[in-house]
């Protein structure tokens, strides 16, 4: 850390003790801050009584793969698919199922064998295809859940379903629930940070909607803060010329006091959020430059993440940022990478997609492990659904082979944070079409994530318009078999 940065951090803390405590005193603000100051590592905010029990994981890095990664090509090896390549989908596999309207009725569609070979890896013998050599190499660290299933067939509703438990926008997302419930372990950065990236050269036009990190009806200070992918991650970070940090602190204290008067008079909870966000802005002025300065990262660590790691806006850069963020106490890092929507590019763009994401994802797990952080950090890798084991396109037109959206069986992996390493849980049927064993619904997955963080998903609720809402709606069972 540069001496200047260190000095500024010291000022922040000192100023906070001297001004902050007296300035921030109203009941509405009490919940934002703890009584016992800001010692590093102590949680800030959060609900009393939480966690409900001892957590295995303290924080989450969610590597969200937008678009629906093809479980058929990557993880879910089915020899029968090869046998049935080019043959029609057997009726029994899709009876009564709804597919994306691009497919409509799958009758008459033909099966498509995975385009790259699979092999088993590690002592656990996990199946991973040659698309993902780096992931394969750390198979023994991972817990593959191969029996995921979801309710939604289109991207935005399905992503929203994974992140907020509801297909329509408007509910709080997982990161918002967790920072609401557990608070943050840093005063210097937002508790919930979002970064996005897109694979190079993808034709996928997916948009990152801000409701993917919304706080829904929770107070808006719990919404994810998105860092920019180009230029400064946060603009306007520097105080005006001639305006010292001491002056800024003093002026901010005045501003806080004035806003508190308003809050007392008007009762609008958004005012409390505003006060908190201005304080956060102040602290980010010091913490962000230090955060994005990779100069102290050893070369072997940079190499681990691959050639794109220093290029801002790439998945690799974001993966390293994710580690740096959780090291600094951020509760929930949501990293979203678009481009997995291979409707007609299984034999083309899928390669780029894997090239851009495979090494950095694996590097993150290894890097966390070598720093002893993997034990209490939960890493999640997965998309909003899988892809159809049958072909979208013309079997004779290999360059345009594709697969459609498929919510009935797909694979995710998790690592660290109290999850059993080196296992594969659940299974799809012999064509990777439907869940055959130990189904894990999206709500089960959510319940499990909360459980790992020491939360009973049925007891983390928020009353809104006369009803108690929770992330898992009225569903969800913790998948105990995957708990370490």
């Amino acid at each position: 850390m540069s001496p200047l940065v260190e000095h500024q951090l010291a000022i922040n803390r000192r100023e906070f003790f001297s001004h902050g405590a007296s300035a921030i005193g109203t009941a509405a603000l009490a919940s934002l801050l703890t009584q016992d100051g800001f010692a590093a590592g102590s949680p800030v905010g959060g609900l009393t009584g939480l966690p409900h029990f001892a957590p295995k994981a303290k924080r989450v890095i969610y590597l969200f793969q937008n678009g629906g990664p093809t479980h058929v090509e990557l993880f879910d090896f089915k020899p029968k698919l090869k046998e049935m390549h080019g043959q029609p989908v057997p009726d029994a596999y899709f009876a009564g199922k709804r597919f994306s309207t691009m497919t409509g009725n799958p009758q008459g569609k033909v099966m498509l064998a995975p385009v790259e070979p699979f092999s088993q890896h590690g002592t656990s013998g996990a199946w991973v295809s040659s698309f993902l050599p780096h992931t394969a190499a750390i198979a023994d660290e991972l817990c593959f859940v191969k029996s995921m299933h979801s309710d939604a067939v289109n991207h935005a509703p399905a992503i929203s379903f994974f992140l907020s438990g509801a297909q329509l926008p408007g509910r709080p997302t997982m990161g918002a629930w967790l920072t609401y419930g557990l608070g943050s372990e840093t005063q210097d950065l937002p508790g919930f940070v979002v970064m996005t990236s897109v694979s190079k050269g993808t034709t996928c036009g997916q948009i990152f909607y801000d409701f993917y990190w919304s706080s829904g009806f929770l107070p808006s200070r719990f919404q994810g803060v998105k860092f920019r992918g180009n230029g400064e991650p946060v603009l306007y970070l520097t105080d005006p010329d001639g305006f010292s940090r001491t002056m800024r602190r003093g002026l901010l204290d005045d501003l806080t006091k004035l806003n508190e008067l308003k809050l007392r008079e008007f009762g609008d909870p958004e005012i409390a959020t505003r006060i908190a966000q201005y304080e956060m802005a102040y602290r980010m002025q010091t913490s962000v430059p230090e955060l994005t300065d990779f100069s102290q990262e050893p070369q072997h660590v940079l190499d681990l993440y691959g050639p794109d790691v220093k290029q801002q806006g790439t998945y690799a850069y974001n993966c390293l940022m994710a580690r740096r963020l959780i090291e600094r106490g951020v509760r929930f890092v949501q990293l979203m990478h678009a481009g997995w929507d291979q409707h007609g590019s299984i034999t083309t763009e899928l390669y780029n997609q894997c090239r851009d994401t495979d090494q950095p994802s694996a590097a993150l797990v290894l890097d966390l492990k070598q720093r002893g952080l993997l034990d209490d950090t939960l890493v999640i890798w997965g998309g909003e659904f899988g892809r159809t084991p049958f072909l979208q396109g013309n079997i004779n037109d290999r360059p345009k082979w594709g697969r459609d959206h498929h919510p009935y069986a797909f694979t995710m992996w998790m690592a660290g944070g109290g999850v059993k390493p080196g296992i594969s849980y659940g299974a799809s049927d012999d064509l990777a079409m439907n869940v055959a064993e130990q189904p894990v619904h999206v709500h089960d997955f959510q319940a499990t994530v909360l459980h790992l963080l020491g939360i009973d998903h049925q007891r983390l609720t928020y009353r809104f318009q006369g009803r108690d809402f929770r992330l898992t709606d009225v569903h969800g069972n913790v998948v105990r078999e995957i708990l370490a």
Binding site: D254, P269, M284
Partner: protein
């Protein structure tokens, strides 16, 4: 606020006596019960949880969301039309036995006796079902007879709002104080805070119509059109560049200026619609009507090499179709590119039938030309007047050059210069140039000639350069003239096909231009082109256009529409919380001949709008989003308005309307970052820095950084986005725009109040918030000034640096320490939560 009697309000608002009578005459109890508006909400709120669409939750295999199922004869039919006594639904609702009673008492969703009576009457009247509310014909609901809060009911809007509040057991809030009101109203109607004089005048105006006159003044202000234009530009995806990777600059700003004028002239919304969608097709279309069609062509243009022109063209037509769908019909069509809509009554065939209306322009989709024809050229008067001069200069220079060459290239009578002996040894390209009279040589040829003689004949060179300079001057003028892409249909109709999966090269069945089959047909006699489509949109039979427009306007004033999803009035969208109010306003809008200013007046003169926005603890829990409107609107202003407010309070704002877009402050070179160095941000200077936000150059792939939570302007956006992030705080604390505004605000106040600190503080607060500081606030701010002065006095160099932020000059007569301290204070005031909010 002086109360205005209800009847008087009706008079002021110009509501027809027939309507006013309805309020006093037969109430809704005598009208047939309306299923969609009155019964469906009851069933939905109280019954659907267990007897609705969700099969997993369904109890007793009974569903009440489906007419056939609900009326299906079982042991006892749930609903027997015409016979409430035989209907199980009614029997259960009134069952005395609590085990029988529905909804079950433990569900905590009891029905009121009024609701039960309504259900009974509806069944007895025949249990008429109806379809999705927004697709039902618009009929004007009767005004509820004000029974509660009659003292506070000032307008028909209040009659609806307060009747609902009474049903919910809530009470309307008191009227907001006058300072709050004038600020709220000014920001809402012109997007700027009131001046000190305006606030003073309104606060001290004791006449009963003071508020009405304030409303009238603001509606008549030229700034009204600028305020209204912003939301329309978001919807119209207006930008000053094409988007995509190339992101070439375009010159659509005359269209933007037309929008401002259209609002200022109160062009009725039906005309506003017809002109923008089909002005070119009107008989004897004026230039203005053709200009208005620029709306359709504000879409992005893809200039990526390797793109197939037809693919681009199809994209553009889809964008036009979908934008029309969202803006006028409140429907999201893009799913129908590939398949029938899952929820709404729009089939893929309907989509391409609408697409056919827009599929007739001669645009070919090739290249990324930001001025792809058809275009209209709109030179300013000054540009127009310079054109003949520049042409004359070219002619003169060409004649002189010809004359000079007669001696420079000696040759036979009537021969061209290339035949001169002197030219014999010259390269062929030069000879080709010399063969032509000077006037006909192109720029490249002139350059070649220059190169050939740049050493040997300075005199000849100067003649050539003069001609080239004259041509360059003309070209530069031509380039500076705005060319607005507009609509025109080619004479030969282009056939339209359903495109499989929306792919341009997968045409399937041919379709003809038509409106969606499940909406009312086009008016008889309407042509089957865009003009007919536009006429259909604004015909009285169209159930959506007025509802959608009124809802968007409501959103502008209240922060959230009566339908929370302004982009989706379909089945997946939100059912309005005040369906009757929405329908009443929509009917009123149509009957007023689509008078937009009148609709604004109607809303802002309601007591509902004028309520205080203070939030009680109970209300915060009960209705956190203020959907029921038991208090006035309070929400963070759009970022463009926050900027305009700061400039206005500072006295920096340049109020000139319209013209070429400007580039005010922006940190670093954000354009280079994202375009890989192909575009570079060039900041403007002088008054361009202080124009209203509306005129800021909007680069589509990297929007101006001073704005946050803004629409992307890439596709049609009608829903407001409001987040609360530390990043916004950094913008308004540290951006040069705001620091400079604080400095100018401080200067203004210091110059007006030479000594008194208390006066100065009051003036700063009033310029931003309209109100005076409370004693507690004033004391706090006074202490703050003392501390800041002390801090800057200890470091005068810092004060100098701080005061140097921004390009406007400061008055050197002001003491720098004092000026710096007040600048900091003004910055704090501009960052108060109240300053950022419309309260």
């Amino acid at each position: 606020m002086h109360r205005i009697a209800f009847a008087f309000a009706l008079l002021v608002l110009g509501i027809s006596p027939a309507v006013a009578l309805a309020a006093d005459g037969p109430g809704p109890t005598e009208q047939p019960v309306h299923f969609g508006r009155q019964i469906l909400p009851i069933l939905s709120d109280h019954c659907f949880q267990c007897h609705g669409p969700d099969a997993r939750q369904r109890q007793a295999d009974l569903r009440l969301d489906d007419e056939a199922k609900a009326k299906q004869s079982r042991d006892a039919a749930a609903i027997v039309p015409g016979n409430s006594q035989a209907s199980e639904v009614y029997r259960r609702m009134v069952a005395v036995d609590l085990d029988e009673r529905m909804p079950p008492p433990d569900a905590n969703r009891p029905l009121t006796p009024e609701q039960v009576a309504l259900v009974k009457r509806w069944i007895d009247e025949g249990a008429a079902w109806s379809g999705h509310w927004a697709f039902e014909k618009l009929t004007r609901p009767a005004l509820p007879r004000p029974e509660t809060f009659t003292e506070q009911v000032d307008s028909p809007i209040d009659a609806f709002l307060f009747a609902r509040l009474a049903r919910e057991g809530l009470t309307p809030s008191q009227a907001a104080p006058r300072e709050t009101l004038i600020r709220r109203l000014s920001l809402d109607l012109i997007g700027l805070p009131p001046t000190l004089a305006e606030t003073e005048a309104f606060v001290s105006d004791g006449s009963p119509d003071a508020y009405q006159r304030l409303v009238d003044r603001l509606l008549a202000s030229p700034a009204f059109g600028e305020r209204m234009a912003w939301d329309w530009l978001d919807a119209a995806r207006y930008a000053d560049s094409n988007g995509y990777q190339g992101d070439g600059e375009r010159t659509m700003y005359p269209w933007r200026d037309w929008v401002v004028q259209a609002f200022n002239h109160n062009l009725p919304y039906d005309q506003f619609t017809i002109w923008q969608l089909a002005g070119d097709l009107l008989p004897d279309a004026t230039e203005e009507q053709r200009l208005a069609t620029g709306f359709c062509r504000n879409h992005m243009i893809n200039g990526e090499g390797g793109r197939i022109p037809e693919e681009n063209r199809v994209d553009y037509v889809m964008d036009m179709t979908e934008t029309m769908g969202t803006v006028w019909l409140g429907l999201t069509f893009n799913c129908c590119r590939c398949h029938d809509h899952k929820f709404d009554p729009v089939a893929q065939r309907d989509y391409y039938s609408l697409f056919a209306f827009f599929n007739q322009t001669p645009v070919d989709g090739g290249g990324g030309n930001p001025q792809t024809p058809p275009v209209i050229e709109l030179p300013t008067e000054e540009q127009q007047s310079r054109r003949p001069q520049l042409t004359a200069a070219i002619d003169a220079a060409a004649n002189d050059l010809d004359a000079f060459e007669l001696t420079f290239f000696p040759r036979g009578e009537g021969q061209a210069a290339d035949l001169s002996e002197k030219a014999a040894a010259l390269p062929d390209a030069i000879k080709a140039a010399l063969k032509l009279p000077a006037r006909q040589r192109n720029r490249g040829q002139l350059e070649q000639l220059e190169k050939q003689w740049e050493k040997d004949s300075p005199e000849y060179l100067s003649h050539i350069q003069r001609l080239r300079g004259a041509i360059d001057a003309r070209d530069a003028l031509n380039r500076s003239i705005a060319r607005v892409m507009v609509m025109a249909d080619q004479p030969q109709p282009r056939p339209t096909f359903i495109l499989e999966k929306g792919l341009y090269d997968k045409p399937r069945d041919e379709v003809t231009a038509a409106v969606p089959a499940r909406l009312p047909p086009m008016p008889s006699g309407a042509p089957a082109n865009r003009l007919g489509l536009a006429q259909w949109l604004v015909s009285p039979d169209n159930p959506l256009t007025a509802r959608v427009a009124v809802n968007r306007l409501w959103q502008q004033f209240f922060g959230i529409g009566l339908v929370k999803t302004p982009e989706d009035f379909g089945v997946q969208g939100e059912r309005p919380l005040h369906p009757e109010l929405l329908d009443w306003l929509a009917a009123e809008f149509v009957d007023s001949r689509w008078d937009v200013k009148r609709l604004c007046r109607l809303i802002v003169t309601s007591a509902g709008y004028r309520q205080s926005s203070a939030v009680g603890a109970a209300l915060a829990e009960r209705d956190p989003q203020n959907r029921l409107l038991a208090r006035g609107p309070r929400f963070r202003m759009p970022s463009w308005m926050i900027r305009d407010q700061a400039l206005a309070a500072a006295g920096l704002l340049v109020s000139r309307i319209g013209g070429v877009p400007v580039n005010p402050y922006q940190p670093g070179d954000l354009w280079a970052d994202i375009t890989f160095d192909r575009k570079h941000f060039q900041q403007d200077h002088g008054e361009a820095l202080y124009r209203r936000s509306l005129y800021t150059f909007w680069r589509r792939i990297v929007a101006p950084s001073v704005f946050f939570d803004s629409a992307s302007r890439q596709i049609c956006t009608v829903k407001h986005l409001r987040t609360n992030s530390p990043l916004h705080a950094l913008t308004t604390l540290n951006d040069v725009t705001y620091v400079e505004a604080a400095r100018a605000l401080a200067q203004r106040v210091l110059l007006a109040n030479p000594t008194d600190a208390k006066e100065r503080i009051t003036a700063i607060v009033r310029l931003v918030l309209a109100r005076r500081p409370t004693a507690e606030e004033a004391a706090l701010l006074a202490a703050s000034i003392e501390r800041l002065k002390h801090e800057f006095a200890a470091d005068p160099a810092a004060a100098a640096k701080f005061l140097a932020v921004g390009e406007s000059l400061r008055d050197p007569s002001l003491d720098p320490i004092e000026h710096a301290a007040y600048t900091a204070l003004a910055s704090a005031v501009l960052n108060l939560d109240e300053a950022l909010n419309k309260e």
